[in-house]
């Protein structure tokens, strides 16, 4: 199934794009997609919150076809 992924801030720079379409298996969770796109390496992953369709969700949230997913790195607003 196809997932739309939006990238912001440091993750946008790491990934080199603002938006990408990713094909994943049914049952894939938000956290699993994060691991896929930002593999936990020697330097470790950035701690993120997860958003699906512009709302925060739990890391274990199961994605469905056409979802818009964003990984929310530490916030800096204000």
């Amino acid at each position: 199934m196809k997932i739309h992924v939006r990238h912001f801030a440091v993750l946008r720079e790491q990934r080199g794009c603002e938006l990408e379409e990713v094909e994943v298996a049914p049952g894939t969770t938000a956290a699993a997609l994060y691991d896929l796109l930002f593999p936990p390496g020697l330097e470790g992953q950035l701690p993120v919150l997860f958003a699906v369709n512009q709302a925060y969700v739990a890391r274990a949230a199961v994605l469905v076809e056409g979802d818009e997913v964003a990984f929310i790195p530490p916030l800096g607003g204000g």
């Binding site: 801030a9 701690p47 916030l75 607003g77």
Partner: protein, 145 residues
């Protein structure tokens, strides 16, 4: 009024948005681009937002604020793009029947914005730049509500 915008914020417009006859107090908070971080000179700030999510998060904060402080109203506008030192990055106006609620609600609004609204800040230095996280931002292992 809840918005994310690339143009400079007109403080008077944000303040007007919370005016109402039952208000006995109006507070306007401005977050402003500061020229240093713990003494290290900062030349300017770059803000980036997930606008389609940031505005609903602001609206949710406003709904919570109105429940906790009956009669209070809030408006919030956050800036994006490149800011020079001294420019407002965020403006929050609160009106309330009395000053005590206005002060409390204003503090709640900016703290909640820093913790929940998807906006990011990069500090520019003479020799580079760095993304800076808020102390209020949830850290590893925290799941969003």
């Amino acid at each position: 009024m809840f918005a994310v915008q690339a143009s400079p914020i007109d403080v008077s417009v944000v303040r007007e948005a919370v005016g109402r006859p039952g208000a006995g107090a109006v507070l306007v908070f401005e977050g402003v681009a500061r020229d240093n971080f713990d003494g290290r000179p900062v030349l300017g700030l770059d803000y980036e937002a997930y606008a389609e999510m940031a505005v609903p998060q602001m609206e949710a904060i406003a709904a919570e604020l109105a429940t906790r402080w009956p009669g209070a109203r809030v408006a919030m506008v956050h800036r994006t793009g490149s800011l020079e030192i001294g420019e407002a990055s965020v403006v929050i106006a609160v009106s309330a029947p009395h000053r005590v609620e206005a002060y409390e609600a204003s503090r709640f609004a900016i703290d909640a914005l820093k913790a929940r609204v998807p906006v990011w800040k990069k500090e520019r230095y003479a020799d580079g730049a760095a993304w800076k996280a808020n102390a209020e931002s949830p850290t590893t292992g925290v799941e969003a509500p």
